[in-house]
């Protein structure tokens, strides 16, 4: 009974977040400059066609309430609305890209965490924070994504997975390194080392349980960073995923698509948050 109640509560929370996000997004997108403008207006050949389309759009979106009700009814009948750019149902645009983006993110997060954990373990093998590990990670943080992409292009290898992995790994490493270093220096560990326990045993039995909850917190931070790093990586590498769709939609003020994408983002963020809360509760219990 209790689990059903908590499940219901989580669902309600997700729905509330989604609703607030949709409302907020609609207001932001509608009132940001450029909603009722199109670059084709400047072109003598296409100007009239563009203006007709824009006046139709203006009629459709004269108030936020009207826009929201149109969106809700579109969601109710399952098509998630009609894209302003492409004139096709938004669901048709989003579904294939969901798979692409999901796979990219999954691979990137898994690789990034393996790299970060491995690197921080290796880095902690030395006494002081090693320049060998700090310099490359700082480099990865400082170089813009587009520059990393250009270097990959010039080198002829590496793609979106590599770039995203490197970006995430660099960030995760910074946190993990510090965390592990602090755990490694704690007094009871020094005693255990003095008593002659193997490194592996130390890591498994003494360090991991203590840092587990902080690792969870980092995991959520990492996923959120991955979600925001997705857009530049997909746009630069022309990956047909949700990030590229979101970027094009933002540049073209395509409200139905943007709402669908932000809704997915809101659900993802909420689920990640709730998962971390849940596992932390389970840990604590």
């Amino acid at each position: 009974m209790k689990s059903a109640v908590s499940l219901l509560r989580r669902l309600a929370r997700t729905v509330l977040v989604v609703f607030l996000v949709v409302f907020g997004s609609t207001v932001l997108i509608r009132f940001a400059p450029g909603y009722l403008s199109d670059v084709r207006e400047m072109d003598a050949r296409y100007g009239d066609a563009a203006r007709t389309e824009l006046s139709a759009e203006a009629a459709r979106s004269s108030s936020v309430r009207q826009m929201l009700s149109t969106e809700m009814s579109a969601w109710a009948n399952g098509s998630l609305g009609l894209s302003r750019q492409y004139d096709v149902p938004v669901l048709e645009l989003v579904l294939p890209r969901l798979a692409v983006t999901g796979s990219l993110m999954l691979r990137a997060i898994v690789f990034a965490w393996s790299l970060a954990v491995g690197a921080s373990l290796l880095s902690n093998a030395g006494r002081n924070p090693s320049l060998l590990w700090q310099a490359p990670t700082t480099l990865l943080l400082a170089v813009p994504t587009s520059a990393i992409a250009t270097i990959c292009l010039l080198a002829g290898s590496g793609g979106p997975v590599l770039v995203m992995t490197l970006l995430l790994a660099a960030r995760d490493f910074k946190f993990l390194d510090r965390l592990l270093r602090q755990a490694w220096r704690s007094p009871h560990l020094l005693q255990a080392k003095a008593q002659g326990l193997t490194t592996l045993h130390l890591v498994r039995a003494h360090i991991l349980p203590n840092v587990a909850s902080q690792l969870l917190a980092l995991a959520t931070l990492s996923i959120v960073t991955a979600l925001s790093a997705l857009v530049p990586v997909e746009v630069i590498f022309s990956v047909p995923g949700l990030g590229q769709l979101a970027w094009n939609a933002a540049m073209n003020r395509d409200l139905p698509v943007l709402l669908a994408v932000t809704m997915i983002m809101a659900i993802a963020v909420t689920c990640v948050g709730m998962a971390s809360d849940r596992s932390a509760d389970w840990q604590g219990a």
């Binding site: 670059v39 590496g158 490194t199 094009n248």
Partner: protein, 544 residues
Amino acid sequence: MRSCSRLIRSVSAVLCAAIAMMCAGQAAPRLPGELAWTIGYDPKTFDPAKVDDQESELVRYLTAGVLLRFNRSTQKVEPQLAESWSLSPDGKTVIFKLRPGLQFSDGTRLTAKDAAWSIRRVLLPATGAPVAEEFVSANDVTVETPDERTVIVHLPKRVIGIGKVFDEIAIEPAEHQSEGRVTAGPFVVADYRRSQYVRLRRNPHFQGRDAKGSVLPYATGVRLDVLDNHEREINLFARGEYDLIDGLPPDYFGMLKQKTPAAVRDLGPSLNTEQMWFNQSPGAPLPAWEKAWFQSQAFRVAVSRAIHRADLARIAYQGHATPAYSSISPANGAWYNHNISVPHEDPAEAKSALAHAGFRLNGSQLEDATGHPVKFSILTNAGNAARLKMATLIQEDLKSLGIQVTVVALDFPALIERLMHTQDYEACLLGLENVDPDPNAMMNVWLSSSPNHQWNPSEKTPATAWEAEIDKAMNLQASSPNDAERKRAVDRVQQIVADQQPFIYLVYPNALFAVSPRLLGVQPAVLEPGLVWNIESLRLEGAK
């Protein structure tokens, strides 16, 4: 210690494996004999009647069978699906005679019925075809097909350049909108993956033949990749994945020239112009004294004189541009006014002209007669490095006059909103693309009542005498059948614009292309699509 080193080794091994797995390169499948290049965004539509953006127009150009083709190189109308055509002396009747034995790409016969249906469909208001406007009053146009190979079009009013209009009407199977999947042009739309590519395949029943009588097109297909990233495009071009780059940015020109000098072409000034203008709209939300500056001819001419256009061409375009003083580019040989008198670079003259107009230097800051410091912002679009550089160079040039300039780069929708809807801007720096050398295509820019009359859109009546004179001259050239009279009218417009400087022309960017040495048959032309206007005759070296 041993366990520690073991741990280190195992972790390192995992790391290396992970990195190796991530470094997989990218494969781009390419069919033999297929040409490939990029387009900036997805075509909005494949229906040739509804084309209203550039990439859809390109797809239409490559796939549509048209009665007449406007040869981009000779700039003359040539019959394509029509064997011959004639225009009556009063310009109101057009007669086409179709070639015998025409077929669509699926093998069905192409007759006058299909041509008539396609033309009528374009003229229908329900279709909303942009090209219908060229017919002036599309409702009153009638189409007859006295026999299988003849099409007669009756126009209510004479249309200048009616031949070119038929270049944009695709002939589709009657009663059967095919959206590019069944065409009479050199290629047919075979596959479309949104945001990835459009794939065209050769039309086996294309009627074109080369001089030796061989079947056209030579290429087996065309792949248009949707790619907006110049870095990747150029990298892939250098690796042979793309055969041409239409519109090479100037900074990459030098780089590609070093790698493959044979691949890059600089064709000299294009038809396009880059210009700066001041907001002269009386309804603009600007303070009255700023409007007074922008509406003052002396001010505009002084600003024009202070700008060093040679520096703009040399630095912002790395030499791949020509200083511009007139609205029509010298590349437009037929319409360029050689005898125009323009205000040339002369900062001293600019300073004295400003002094005459009541502006005074207070220390290093210029002030107008009412004591307000002369400051304004130049708006341009983000993402165009050359324009940003030009704006910064102009900022420095105007500093010598004591004018303080802020450079603001906005994304296009926000920019367009300010330019065309709210008029909330002071000065703007943008480029104008001239696709058609005939000044008639620029009516929208010069007519004061037009929403594209950038410095003061949609005027109910011309705000100044010179704008009224421009209106008169442009209307004259639109309706006059006498070529010499048209040229005189257009020359007059160019002179007025040079005197009044509503647009301060900066440079004519050069037409820069990259063509793979493996691609044979390319004859770059000034009109769009400059590199692939003769797509049927292009082929890859070594392909069949």
